[in-house]
């Protein structure tokens, strides 16, 4: 169970000049109002590929409206854990789970859970931008249409709002009918964010959303995450620890499927409790 954010913010000050890990000190952020409740709760939650236990008995509370980063060496189960939250792993034939994963107090893997409804509430943005080979407009309108919005005016409203939220509106407002594949990689990724926002999710899952992008486009996505923070619960998988420290309030460190440490970002990066965490963030292994 991570510490409350208030606790970190006060501690941050007396930590502000302690050597090598200073680069990970998070920037000042706006206050989040009305968040902080457990949104996703994992209890002894394991994920298996066949016999192989890729995520091992994780216990964690993900707090609403804050940004949680997931870090850890490649193959440690970051994606597996993230994709379990909106049941994207259902697509993999031999993947199954034990333990419990709760979303808003309901069992994600419960017998009567409608995974379609679940995915509407828990949106996902993938590593490589994956717009549909359709127009920009149709990409954004895809979700709303799916959920029954037919009126053109309403759709136009949703498209504009979503694109504005994703900070893409100014760049594409004059070519909404053009194919989305004509956009740059960074624009495509923001389009994917906008597409996800258009179905009004509560949670946004981002799996290494910037690893296919250049630094400028990466900065834009990070800015965007800051914009969305406070409105959505955001979970971001990243292998870039500076990115994690820049954008997140909490960080989970996974190692070989085990959640080693889960703490407020400032604390995890500056005063890690676990030796493994410290070794990893100081670059002794990766």
């Amino acid at each position: 169970m991570p510490m409350s954010l208030e606790a970190t913010e006060t501690k941050k000050n007396d930590n502000s000049s302690t050597g090598a890990l200073d680069i990970y000190l998070p920037p000042e952020r706006k206050k989040v109002t009305g968040g902080g409740q457990p949104h996703v709760v994992a209890k002894n939650f394991s994920i298996y590929y066949g016999e192989f236990e890729a995520v091992k008995k994780v216990n964690a509370d993900i707090l609403s409206k804050y940004v949680t980063a997931i870090i850890g060496p490649s193959g440690c189960g970051k994606s597996t854990f993230l994709r379990a939250i909106n049941r994207m792993n259902d697509l993999i034939p031999n993947c199954h789970t034990t333990g419990a994963l709760m979303f808003d107090g309901e069992d994600v893997y419960g017998k009567f859970t409608d995974e379609v409804l679940l995915r509407k509430k828990i949106g996902m943005v993938f590593q490589k931008p994956n717009p549909f080979p359709k127009s920009i407009f149709d990409n954004i309108a895809y979700g709303p249409r799916l959920h029954g919005v037919k009126d053109r005016k309403t759709l136009e409203g949703i498209v504009e709002r979503s694109l504005r939220k994703a900070a893409l509106w100014d760049e594409v407002s004059d070519r909404l009918d053009k194919n989305a594949l004509g956009l740059s990689g960074g624009q495509q990724q923001r389009l994917c964010v906008a597409r996800t926002l258009a179905v009004e999710p509560e949670i946004l899952l981002l799996d290494e959303p910037t690893s296919a992008l250049d630094p400028k486009a990466t900065a834009k996505i990070e800015d965007l995450i800051q914009e969305l923070r406070g409105s959505y619960t955001i979970m971001i998988v990243t292998h870039n620890m500076q990115q994690a420290s820049r954008v997140s309030d909490y960080t989970m460190f996974f190692y070989e499927g085990v959640l080693v440490e889960h703490a407020p970002t400032a604390q995890l990066f500056t005063r890690p409790k676990d030796q493994m965490t410290e070794d990893y963030i100081t670059g002794r292994f990766s």
Binding site: N86, M88, L91, V116, L117, L118, R119, K120, K121, G123, M124, F126, K128, N130, P131, F132, P133, K134, Y142, G143, L146, H147, K178, N179, A180, L181, G182, C192, R195, T196, V199
Partner: protein, 448 residues
């Protein structure tokens, strides 16, 4: 293996590859060139006055006044021939029996030759068959027939060890000393004035029905039948194949039944087409009674079964080639599986699916064996769209075979056969071309 041998091998493989491509190109040229040139001859040729007369009276085309004028003009030259015949008839009357019989059979042959060249002679009764009501409609044929008038073909049996050789004997020599001798050089010299050959573009070849078992007229019923059959087959096979492919790729679980179905599909792809033809007869017509006997419906169904495996395979591959990320994105937005398939996967797979469709369409249009027993008739009128459920139809593939092998006067109408081959190749090309254009458009839309 050392570097030298490896390089040598590499080079020889490259050369081999190039060589085979060039050979393929040449083979294509060798096949397509005669098809094109001889096929064009079916509708671009020097047409004679007989052709124009035929068009006027049988198809009501052409300018009657002009044709009457031409007819009078040609008749002026023909009259001399008729006069010579009349003169010789009189001469014959005055000969004794022995002399008469010396000329009789040869004279009959001359008259027959003249009839095939110019049509019925004066005093003949109106022939029942259209093919005998007119002379040669094509100048190239007329020149061939002229040879038959001028020379009698005899066979040289002198060497019993080899097959006999034909040789020409001048007919004029046979009539030496009679008035008929003058007829041969006269016809040879004035045939063009008697026939008035003119370059003709006979577009009716593609739009008209055949007259007197393809002696005259066009091949529209065959073209239409081919299109009906091919499109009919696609109507059944395409949706079915795509649905089956969706099932295989998205729904089927790996298991005994699935692997059985898959191997059944592969096996079906290798079955000889004649087997499909017999199956179609036995199953669709004799068992299911989809129609009383041959019909476009039964033929389409049979062709559909034949092309189904190709369509399923191509569609399966196209669906599997759709990036998994599209599917994830759609599902991630809260889409159902079916919705994802319809709105994302199928549109993205469409170009590939259409490729399979194109290949199958060409095959359905070109196959002969499956329709022999289920849909094709040799000569028939074009059927209406309303008759496809019950009526058989002529079709290019089957009629090409029929004209080549079974037609009573195959040698007389080779040009029709070539024309049909060209038409078939063109129909397949056009069907393919439109599908390819459609495909390219969709691809372009997808790529942005």
């Amino acid at each position: 293996m050392n570097l030298g041998t490896r390089k040598l091998l590499d080079h020889s493989f490259t050369a081999l590859g190039f060589g085979s491509i060039i050979i393929m190109g040449l083979a294509l040229l060798v096949v397509l060139f005669p098809i094109a040139t001889k096929g064009v001859g079916a509708f671009v040729f020097k047409g004679t006055i007989e052709h124009r007369k035929l068009l006027l009276s049988e198809f009501h085309r052409g300018d009657p006044k002009e044709i009457v004028k031409e007819e009078t003009e040609t008749n002026r030259y023909r009259q001399k021939v008729f006069d010579m015949l009349a003169a010789f008839d009189q001469e014959l009357d005055q000969m004794d029996y022995e002399q008469q019989s010396k000329y009789r059979s040869s004279y009959d042959q001359v008259k027959t030759s003249l009839r095939t060249l110019l049509g019925p002679l004066p005093g003949d009764s109106e022939p029942a068959l259209t093919r005998f009501q007119y002379g040669q409609t094509r100048w190239d044929k007329a020149e061939e027939k002229l040879h038959g008038l001028l020379y009698e073909q005899k066979w040289d049996y002198s060497n019993p060890d080899v097959i006999a050789k034909p040789y020409d004997v001048s007919r004029a020599a046979g009539f030496a000393g009679t008035s008929l001798v003058k007829l041969f050089p006269y016809v040879e010299e004035n045939l063009d004035k008697m026939m008035m050959p003119e370059w003709t573009f006979y577009w009716g070849f593609f739009t008209e029905s055949s007259l007197d078992a393809h002696f005259f007229g066009g091949i529209w019923p065959e073209i239409q039948g081919t299109i009906f059959l091919a499109i009919g087959a696609m109507l059944f096979a395409f949706p079915l194949g795509v649905i089956a492919a969706i099932y295989f790729t998205e729904y089927a679980r790996d298991g005994f039944l699935t692997s059985m179905l898959r191997s059944a599909n592969s096996t079906l792809a290798g079955v000889p087409s004649i087997v499909f033809g017999l199956f179609g007869l036995a199953f669709f017509i004799n068992t299911l009674h989809v129609s009383e006997s041959k019909s476009v419906l039964a033929g389409s169904l049979t062709l559909a079964i034949m092309i189904l495996p190709t369509i399923i395979r191509a569609a399966e591959e196209a669906i599997l080639a759709v990036p998994k990320t599209y599917k994830e994105a759609s599902l991630g937005l809260g889409s159902t599986k079916w919705n994802t398939i319809v709105t994302v996967i199928l549109p993205a797979a469409l170009p590939g699916i259409l490729t399979g469709g194109v290949i199958s369409l060409g095959r359905a249009a070109g196959e002969t064996a499956p329709i022999i027993f289920t849909a094709a008739v040799s000569v028939g009128a074009a059927i209406g769209l309303g008759d496809v459920l019950t009526s058989p139809t002529p079709a290019l593939s089957w009629n090409i075979y029929n004209l080549a092998s079974e037609h009573e006067a195959a040698a007389e109408i080779r040009h029709v056969q070539y024309g049909m081959v060209l038409a078939l190749v063109t129909v397949v090309l056009l069907l393919n071309l439109s599908a390819v254009i459609l495909r390219a458009r969709i691809s372009k839309k997808l790529k942005g």
